[in-house]
Amino acid sequence: MLIGISLISFFIMHLAPGDITASESAFNPKASEESRQKLRALYNLDKPLMTQYSLWLKRIVKLDFGNSFASHQRPVLWETKDAKGNVSKGMIQDALPITLMINLIGLLIIFALSIFLGVVSAVNQNRWPDRLITIIVFVGFAVPGFWLALLLMYWTGVTHSWLPISGLHSAGFEKMSHIAQYADLFKHLILPVSISSLGGLASISLYVRNGMLDVLQQDFITTARAKGLPENKVIYGHALRNTLLPLITIIGLSIPGLIGGSVIGESIFAISGMGKLFFDAVLMRDFPVVMGILTIGSVLTLFGNLIADIGYAWADPRIRRGISN
């Protein structure tokens, strides 16, 4: 499976015209065609595609993701140390924690908020709270993120200086106390995380709403009500738990998405995450970086599917029994 994915991505990548030498020293009359040929040979770009792929595969089975083609030649995945103890950090190592942090917080917010909004909508079906929530989440989904981001940056950063405009740390971050550092990071994260969560609210809150409506019509809810249970207990104790089951699949499927960042969001907020890394690598035709990110992405997709299956079995006794029988 992994080999299939990597093979396809490798060939699609190479279908795009040009290679690293076209952008690196593009159109500078001082850079001669001979030196570009030399670079091409150094990176094995002059070899047939199949040979290039097998060279890559040979390295990757040893978990060696190689070094970037860009002139800094940084390792793609993890840091390396040279003889004198100078460490050069991996590109994914640098970008991944930032993106993971933003996406995990975003995911938590999306789920917490969507479940709340979904339940409120379902309970008040077709009344004004339901209508209002639907309108809000759809507007949030439809609004262009970069536009809203710029407006909010201007409003909170320039007119009022409540929040920092871009970046992740203030000047002088290193000199702050630990608590001040967390507070600083938190302030910097408010806008990027809100913008990235906004678009996700619509789908999941509607999912919860509709799931909830289905469940509320089932017999065991009627039974629960007939027992004389308080309405709160019926909704949160019985209906919600059953509504949440399908959400496990969605969580599992969003695991690979956790390592992907949004190019536009990251550029606007000057956050160097995975989205920008991948986008720049594609533009530069920096094959080792592109392949590294795609490989990790496909591993995580497979892993996410597995987690979803296991999570289902854990949460739903019916499925668990089905497996053991």
Partner: protein, 543 residues
């Protein structure tokens, strides 16, 4: 990309901004130069490698230029001037150049900087194993030697005039640190030791990079103590940071320069605007192997038919200059007596008729031998070039030429169209080179795929002038040669010079000591003399 939305938004906000706290600084008045302070700027790209012979990006060279020295440099008028070498001599046969280094030069770590380091750097840049795209100029050196610690001599097989320019761009690297390192994979590219004004103190990937004045700088001590560059990819965000006073300077676009900042008093009050002629010009180039562009009259006609001032006004909001030669106006290589073709529609029509084009079927499009005059302009994804193409399309329609426009991503543009010669006309830019040699661009031998005379220009006289200019090191004689060359080029119009845009900078007024109007080398030529009066400094966050 988002600047249009930002502009609309900012204009709406002109009135609503008055509630903002008034700026506490009084920027006007006279200040005396003093040392200290921090200048924060924004960069769109992160430098990749501070060894400039290996890096190819402009962000890297902007930083490494503050850390390393060259033997010689270009001064404010773009004439060659001493840097590490306090003088240089050229032998009478013009094949040998001797550089005499200044005494007591030191690296930032206290080691002596000698001609040995220069020799070492030359060996590195010409080494087959070094991954540099810039080796070819230095490989022409037949023999390089360090005669004594202060003398460095190079012999060329035959006189090579751009040699001086090449020594004005080679940053000298320390031998004592790099002699056992693999230059392609070395910590030095991110932890350099240089000899110039600043040394690197901090580099956080994806975030920022800081330089601090180096006490042992061979150039003396700069006024501003610390330079911090923040990496902010999006220029709209940069602009927000600028107006929120979090960064001190950035390059801005013509809309911000001519419309946004002047219309807002609060911005005008704290930002100073500077313009300087940029280092490149934009042109419309023809494929001279395709008919009818092989006809000089057709090219001249198109040149007359285009209104360059209209393009400058429309695309750059007037912030550019027309050029008549591939050299920067104001330098000695640019001939004052050459003028761009004036806009003259009748002259254009006359020349097209002489070339055999007539509108025989009265459809508004000219024909020759029954075929309508229609061609395609290719350009890459660059907003200014796209807008230029539209204006050209309109003007050429006036004289009966039907133009189509096609915009293509850069890598495909180079590989599928330029390299294969499969195009009619392109809108592209060339740099206004500091050294006048343009052999690679115009000599008839440089037409193979991947070489730079892709338009297929072929003129015996120009070839000969270019060859002569390459072997003449006397600036006055070279001036004559390149003036003659520019004259032929203008007359033959293998390309139509459209404009040279200004580089536009907005700078917080706390930075003082900037020369305005900018000299040919641009405002940054004396950045080490800029200073920040202590009364205007930002409140530094103290621990």
């Amino acid at each position: 990309m988002y600047s249009r939305y930002l502009l609309i938004f900012l204009l709406f906000n002109i009135t609503s901004c008055s509630d903002k706290k008034e700026s506490v600084y009084n920027y006007e008045g006279t200040f005396n130069s003093e040392k200290g302070g921090t200048l924060i700027d924004a960069m769109s790209g992160e430098p990749s490698n501070l060894i400039s012979m290996i890096a190819g990006d402009s962000a890297s060279s902007a930083i490494s230029g503050n850390i390393f020295n060259k033997l010689i440099k270009y001064d404010k008028n773009l004439e060659l001037a001493p840097e590490l070498a306090d003088k240089w001599t050229i032998s009478s046969d013009q094949k040998t150049i001797t550089f005499y280094l200044k005494r007591n030069l030191q690296w930032a770590d206290g080691h002596n900087l000698t001609s040995d380091d220069v020799l070492f750097t030359w060996k590195l840049v010409t080494d087959e194993k070094t991954r540099t795209p810039y080796g070819s100029d230095y490989k022409l050196v037949d023999k390089a030697e360090a005669l004594d610690p202060y003398t460095f001599r190079v012999n060329y097989k035959k006189a090579y005039a751009p040699a001086l320019d090449s020594w004005a761009s080679l940053q000298i690297l320390p031998k004592h640190i790099l002699k056992d390192e693999d230059i392609n994979h070395t910590f030095f590219s991110r932890k350099p030791t240089g000899s110039s004004y600043y040394k690197l103190t901090q580099w956080i990937n994806g975030e920022k990079l800081s330089l601090e004045a180096s006490p042992s700088s061979v150039m003396g001590e700069p006024n501003i103590n610390q330079l911090t560059s923040r990496f902010i990819p999006d220029t709209s965000s940069q602009f927000l940071e600028l107006i929120a006073d979090n960064i001190d300077l950035m390059n801005i676009n013509p809309i911000q320069f001519a419309r946004v900042i002047p219309s807002r008093p609060d911005l005008k009050n704290k930002l100073a605007l500077y313009k300087e002629l940029g280092n490149s010009y934009t042109y419309l180039g023809f494929n001279l192997k395709h008919s009818p562009f092989n006809d000089i009259k057709v090219r001249q006609a198109i040149n007359y038919a285009l209104n360059k001032q209209e393009i400058i006004d429309g695309v750059l909001l007037g912030l550019g200059e027309p050029v008549a030669s591939p050299y920067k106006p104001g330098t000695r290589w640019s001939d004052q007596n050459l003028h761009p073709y004036p806009y003259d529609k009748n002259q254009a029509l006359k020349l097209l008729h002489e070339a055999g084009f007539n509108d025989s079927n009265h459809d508004g499009i000219l024909e020759k031998d029954g075929k309508p005059f229609t061609f395609e302009i290719l350009t890459n994804q660059n907003k200014q070039r796209e807008m230029t193409a539209v204006l050209i399309q309109r003007r050429l329609k006036d004289v009966g030429i039907d133009v189509k426009i096609r915009v293509i991503e850069w890598a495909s543009f180079v590989n599928q169209f330029i390299k294969t010669g499969d195009f009619d006309a392109v809108i592209l830019g060339w740099s206004l080179s500091l050294d006048p040699d343009q052999y690679n661009i115009w000599h008839s031998s440089q037409q193979k795929p991947g070489q730079f005379n892709f338009i297929g220009y072929n003129n015996k006289e120009v070839d000969q002038l270019l060859e002569e200019g390459r072997t003449e090191l006397n600036p006055d004689k070279r001036e004559k040669i390149y003036h003659a060359f520019s004259k032929i080029l203008l007359k033959e119009s293998p390309v139509i010079y459209l404009y040279a845009g200004y580089g536009l900078t907005a700078m917080n007024k706390r930075i003082k000591g900037i020369e305005s109007p900018a000299p040919p080398a641009g405002i940054a030529y004396n950045s080490y003399e800029w200073f920040i009066p202590s009364a205007l400094r930002r409140n530094e966050i103290t621990p």
